[in-house]
């Protein structure tokens, strides 16, 4: 396979030839080929020095076949003809061996819009550039008498999907992400950034934020658990949205009666609007899903009202409607997934979100969030690296991290203010959210 120079991804025409050849050789009634390929690097630092520094190149060729009402899926991480024949043979063998079952239909061809998600600066990033970025954070932390920890990654990847009904889509993208924890003897701070273009990551601005947060968060004292008014920074809001997506926004969760979404009913405060849009360039755009369906914008909660769900081919077929382009790779029993989330910003500058709070808690981010009761949208987790007491409209002192157990819908019901600005939070595994910071009337801290 011929590679592009820096990121070592297969050239587009070469990739299409490989996939077309595989589709042509298939003896199944329907065949789908999905190729994912990536070249990524990550520089990790601790105690003001680099301690892990890695790079990888990998690919996956995933084949789904349908034959006589039976489906088989197989994958391999080699992209040569022998591997292609082998993975096709295995998929067909699996299909032949199993009983007839519900077949997830493959989509027909439909145009998808271009989504520019590529940065040559990111694809070409070198270990020396990553080291220099990290050195800036470490040096500034050291000068402040603090220790820096974190990870800086740059990656380039491509996804191509084709099927025997004539679908062919290809998309390339890059990501650069950096996260950092800075610690003093008695507390720590956190900051992260993510972008398609590594040049947009400002190391000085990041260092400033995380060091300042760490300095302010020394010698935190415990505070009595209870119900507090809160300001959630974007880090915490994004995590909450991702959990809402995970347990509530999928059509499968609704079909299986697990979702908290009640279509047409008001489920949060009026100011809350959340949608999924895989084509918005201010997110992490990807024009089609893992079944080859072009992505549609879906309003999930509009002015507080549950207004939509995301669908894949299986859930859409069950309801006799079209997929919204939110399918995951086959075989998928987890249902569709909204991975390009947006939350409507408000009019309040972030710095003023606390100004009308008599007594409350400022939360930088959440940690180890888990679902307690899905239908009631109750989650639990801890605050981490920057939890502060708000008194009479201003942050007065750091407090020890707290455990919360809270219904997300009830929290959003009490939305009092939303920040004017938003921040892009790139997910750990897939997708990204663009969210504002929030002021919420009541949040339950349990220990």
């Amino acid at each position: 396979m011929k590679s592009m120079e820096a990121a070592r991804l297969t050239e587009g025409a070469e990739l299409k030839r490989f996939m077309d050849g595989l589709l042509q050789r298939s003896t199944a009634e329907q065949t789908e080929v999905m190729v994912t390929e990536w070249d990524s690097a990550l520089t990790r630092f601790a105690n003001n020095g680099i301690h892990q520094n890695v790079a990888e190149r990998n690919a996956q060729v995933r084949v789904r076949v349908v034959k006589d009402g039976r489906t088989g899926v197989a994958s391999v991480n080699q992209m040569d003809e022998r591997a292609a024949n082998d993975v096709l043979r295995r998929a067909i063998e699996i299909a032949a061996l199993q009983p007839k079952a519900e077949v997830v239909p493959m989509p027909g061809p439909a145009p998808s819009r271009e989504a520019d998600a590529w940065s040559s600066a990111t694809a070409d990033a070198t270990p020396e550039e990553r080291a220099e970025f990290v050195a800036t954070i470490c040096n500034r932390a050291e000068k402040a008498g603090l220790k820096a920890f974190g990870a800086f990654s740059t990656s380039a990847g491509q996804l191509a999907i084709g099927n025997s009904l004539g679908v062919f889509h290809q998309h390339r993208g890059t990501q650069a992400t950096v996260n950092s924890v800075v610690m003093g003897d008695a507390g720590s701070g956190y900051a992260d950034r993510g972008a398609i273009d590594v040049a947009q990551l400002n190391k000085d601005e990041l260092a400033e934020e995380v060091i300042e947060k760490a300095k302010r968060n020394q010698n935190a004292q415990p505070i009595e658990p209870g119900v507090y008014e809160v300001v959630l920074e974007e880090y915490a809001v994004a995590e909450m949205l991702e959990f809402m997506s995970y347990i509530g926004f999928s059509a499968l969760a609704a079909q299986e009666e697990r979702s908290f979404m009640r279509h047409g009913e008001r489920i949060t405060g009026d100011a809350v609007s959340i949608w999924d849009d895989g084509l918005d360039p201010s997110g992490l755009p990807a024009p089609f899903d893992f079944e080859g369906v072009p992505k549609q914008r879906v309003d999930l909660i509009k002015n507080g009202v549950a207004s939509g769900l995301v669908y894949d081919m299986q859930t859409a077929t069950r309801e006799g409607r079209a997929s919204t382009g939110h399918g995951l790779p086959a075989p998928n029993t987890d249902g569709p997934f909204a991975v390009n989330l947006f939350m409507q910003p408000g009019a309040t500058p972030k710095a003023e979100l606390a100004s009308e709070i008599k007594r409350g808690i400022w939360v930088t981010r959440f940690w180890y969030v888990r679902i307690v009761q899905p239908k009631a949208s109750i989650i639990t987790g801890m605050t981490r690296e920057g939890t502060f007491l708000i008194e009479d409209g201003r942050i007065t002192r750091p407090v020890k991290d707290l455990r919360f157990t809270q219904s997300m819908l009830e929290a959003l019901e009490g939305t009092l203010a939303i920040s004017r600005g938003t921040k892009l939070q790139i997910g750990e595994f897939i997708g990204a959210s663009r969210v504002p910071a929030l002021r919420l009337k009541a949040f339950t801290f349990t220990s």
């Binding site: 520089t43 990790r44 630092f45 601790a46 105690n47 003001n48 020095g49 680099i50 301690h51 892990q52 520094n53 890695v54 790079a55 990888e56 190149r57 990998n58 996956q60 088989g72 899926v73 197989a74 994958s75 991480n77 699996i94 061996l97 199993q98 009983p99 079952a101 519900e102 270990p127 080291a131 990290v134 050195a135 220790k147 920890f149 990870a151 990654s153 299986e256 009666e257 697990r258 075989p331 029993t333 940690w367 180890y368 888990r370 307690v372 009761q373 239908k375 009631a376 109750i378 639990t380 987790g381 801890m382 981490r384 991290d401 455990r403 157990t405 750990e428 595994f429 349990t446 220990s447």
Partner: protein, 480 residues
């Protein structure tokens, strides 16, 4: 495999690495899901590649590739060396690996029935019978069963002369029944939650689970939970089933004894640890009933192997002995900081990842009582079974766990079924309140195949031997 390994080590030395190791890895995995009486998914995944780890100027570099070609070896080694040189610009102290490791040999997981020779129809039949058993219960809304089989062939070689070849097998399965009402959803699963119970071994591991014999029971329990009483709040005596004890060990002892966490190497992601070196041999971690070991020789454990991914032989060591904190899970690099030698816990999630300190089989040693006796000796308590949710802070102190099923215990007898049960605590306080652990006959090795750690993220398969245990004065049930 051999050619790739030799070429990589040679190239690394030529390019100036002071130390290098290479892992060449082939992995095949088969997954099956039966959902609501239909075979919903079968997949067969294969991955192979190699990863080269080098030390240059006392700093680490690593690169891996899926292209098993000689020319690619040169390129990958050059990339790893260049990365290591960049690391050296911003390193704190040079890495010291301690004494050289020269392990040589082969290891194969004991397997009675190779799962990759068992027909698909036999596997599907096992899941279908369990599905029918769950389906026999009216009002079960969703039924799901799954199986997973993994075979990994792994070659490790280093410039110090280590050369080990391993052939590792895993098999796992599980079933889950879910019942719903307009305002509630309740699930019960067997043998454990979150997909499967998994172990090192062959298809005999699946057969021994007898999934079909438990389908009806979990279906009935899921439906009954919809109308069960909410778990009350209060300070109570808590009895945990063995699987939940396993997860408690994982989160509150396994992770905080990882020495890389202790040294801040995971601080920006998974966090650090309250079990810092000055507490070693001083911290009263638990009551005298609490002895916890890390043992990579435990039969059927997911943390059972011949050598770790630094070539250290599988071994057994104590983390907590009769309540006293006495040891860490270590690597060559971290052990040398404490003047120790590695106890062999470095494992990577495939050829494309560096090894990290991971739990092997971290187990609570069995005690001398029984679940029945523990219940009989309890006046006012709650029995909880099968994990539903888990959360713990970044130093591994403040935890809250929820379980699928619970029963009140009143005057030595099991009472009403309770739903949405949770308990919370602080790690050393909790383990110091342990006053009973069931004996060997109720002790079982629980496989946990979803342990996340590291950046880029890695998933490890680990295990925990555990028996039911009792804890006093525990905060139970925080929900209204």
């Amino acid at each position: 495999m051999k050619d790739i390994a030799e070429a990589a080590l040679n190239a690394a030395q030529v390019k100036g690495a002071g130390y290098a190791d290479v892992r060449v890895d082939e992995r095949v995995q088969q997954d099956l899901v039966v959902k609501n009486g239909q075979l919903a998914a079968v997949s067969d995944d294969a991955s192979q590649g190699f990863g080269v780890r080098v030390l240059v100027d006392g700093a680490w570099g690593f690169a891996g590739s899926d292209r098993l070609e000689k020319a690619e070896v040169e390129e990958v080694v050059a990339r790893a060396v260049r990365i290591a040189r960049a690391s050296a610009r911003v390193r704190s102290k040079p890495v010291d690996l301690g004494p050289p490791v020269t392990s040589r040999g082969t290891y194969r997981t004991p397997v009675e029935r190779d799962p990759f020779t068992v027909s698909l129809s036999e596997k599907v039949d096992v899941l279908m019978r369990a599905d029918q058993a769950m389906g026999s219960v009216k009002d079960v809304r969703t039924r799901e069963g799954s199986m997973e089989f993994i075979r990994q062939r792994k070659l490790f070689a280093s410039t110090e002369g280590a050369w080990t070849e391993q052939d590792l097998y895993e098999s796992g399965a599980g079933i889950e029944a879910t019942a719903t009402s307009p305002d509630d959803v309740q699930s019960r699963s067997y043998p454990n939650s979150f997909g499967r119970h998994q172990g090192s071994g062959g298809f005999e591991f699946i057969t021994a689970l007898e999934l079909d014999k438990h389908g009806e029971r979990i279906g009935e329990e899921a439906v009954a939970l919809l109308t069960a009483v909410q778990c009350p709040s209060g300070i109570k005596t808590l009895i945990l089933d063995a699987s939940q004890v396993g997860l408690q060990i994982h989160e509150s002892c396994g992770h905080p004894t990882e020495l890389d966490r202790v040294f801040g190497m995971e601080a920006a992601y998974a966090g650090t640890s309250f079990m810092t070196p000055e507490k070693l041999n001083h911290l009263r971690y638990g009551s005298p009933k609490v002895t916890i070991t890390a043992d990579a020789l435990t039969p059927t454990g997911l943390g059972t192997f011949g050598w770790d991914d630094e070539g250290i032989p599988a071994q057994r060591s104590h983390l907590v002995k009769e309540g006293l904190f006495v040891g860490y899970l270590t690597s060559r690099e971290t052990a040398s900081v404490l003047g120790q030698q590695s106890n062999g816990t470095m494992r990577a999630d495939g050829w494309n990842r560096i090894p990290l300190i991971r739990m092997t089989n971290v187990s609570l040693e069995p005690g001398d009582t029984s679940l029945e006796q523990m219940i009989a000796d309890t006046k006012d308590g709650v029995y909880m079974e099968t994990n539903r949710s888990w959360s713990i802070d970044d130093r591994r102190l403040n935890f809250q766990f929820g379980t699928q099923l619970a029963y009140e215990i009143v005057a030595g007898k099991r009472g009403r079924m309770l739903k949405n049960a949770t308990y919370a605590g602080i790690t050393p306080e909790f383990w110091n309140s342990c006053d009973a652990v069931a004996g060997r006959s109720e002790w079982k090795v629980w496989g946990l195949a979803n342990c996340g750690k590291g950046q880029p993220p890695q998933v490890a398969h680990v295990a925990h031997g555990a028996a039911p245990a009792r804890f006093q004065n525990v905060k139970v049930g925080i929900l209204k």
